[in-house]
Amino acid sequence: MHSPKPNPETDWPSELYRILKAADVRQMSYVPDAGHSRLIRMFSADRDVTTNVLTTEEEGIAIAAGAWLGGQRSVLLMQSSGVGNCINMLSLSAIGRFPLLMLVTMRGEWAEFNPWQVPMSRATQPSLEAIGLKVMRAETPEDLVETVESAASLAYESDQQIAVLIGQRLIGKKKW
């Protein structure tokens, strides 16, 4: 059978799902973002992964630590506005050296219609770095797939706390 090679330009959510499954991620928590919607749908349909919808993003930091205590790997999805909600809870990951992988879709930095997204967009990377996370950025689908693959290894195998920022240019312009 011929199976067409996936096109990363359009299939990057499927590629991220494949990578995270290969990394044995068993829990996924999220505050929705349009940029994450396909990945959220894929995980939600997967009976081997427990998904948690959150009321605020820092809940996912705590869930990830609990999952690791219990022997499972988890991933946390949010948009950049949610990073500000996480800062104190990230003390837990930092001081406990808990593996942490956050995938953050950026708002407020590229063709943004909503000015209220801009201040937190500007603060996202500095505040994550200030609390001790390693920040990796991807601006193209090809780069994103490779970045998440290496971030997953760093997080789960080297006990690191990683945020992958997914550039707004990559997500595409939101339609109003």
């Binding site: 705590a62 630590a65 609990g66 837990l92 195998e157």
Partner: protein
């Protein structure tokens, strides 16, 4: 006005955990962490010294990863009030093996005993019930805590939240290790996971 709680928090937590078997316990920062340590250090304890609002949610991640084990989040009224949204998240997740027990002195005991919301009409059990918890309740005496210990040892078809009303006082601190990496690795080793 409800009567002033008289229950000693250390006696309450000791009675709650007297026959804990293999229950895994996560304690919220401040007095619940000291109470848990005072009841007996245990490899299946994870003590928080920060991350306020996170105790029950660490319990959720743990309960989801270890569905065959009972998980208890032992926390205070102030800590759980900071994590109110987490009660909704846990209600939706509906783990069968997670209990939240709030040691409620109606005050922020660690910071000068300022009155908290729970002494001013906010009822955490009503919030949990509205979020779909399988069982909730409030207890005020040692005998009731002993009954509660038996209740949380029994299976449930969803998460439960119980409030233990205790006297607002700070007993002498009983301090576990503040080294979270050590406590984490000890906890994971207890469940059979090797340190990286």
């Amino acid at each position: 006005m409800p009567m002033q709680a008289q229950l000693d928090r250390r006696a309450a937590v000791a009675a709650l955990l007297k026959d804990r078997k293999d229950t895994l316990v996560v304690s919220g920062l401040g007095s619940p962490t000291y109470d848990l340590h005072s009841a007996g250090d245990h490899d299946g304890n994870f003590y928080l010294w920060g991350a306020m609002g996170g105790a029950a949610l660490i319990g959720l991640g743990l309960a989801q990863a270890q569905p065959e084990k009972r998980v208890l989040a032992l926390t205070g009224d102030g800590e759980q009030l900071m994590g109110l949204g987490g009660i909704a998240t846990i209600g939706v997740a509906r783990p069968r093996n997670l209990d939240i027990v709030v040691i409620d002195n109606q005050h922020f005991g660690e910071t000068g005993m300022q009155a908290s919301h729970t002494g001013r009409g906010v009822d955490l059990t009503a919030i949990a019930a509205a979020c779909g918890f399988a069982a909730t309740g409030t207890v005020r005496t040692l005998e009731e805590v002993q009954c509660l210990a038996a209740q949380i040892a029994a299976p449930s078809d969803g998460p439960r939240l119980f409030v233990i009303k205790v006297l607002a006082e700070n007993p002498p601190r009983s301090l576990p290790s503040r080294d979270a990496v050590f406590i984490k690795n000890r906890f994971r080793a207890h469940l059979g996971f090797a340190a990286a």
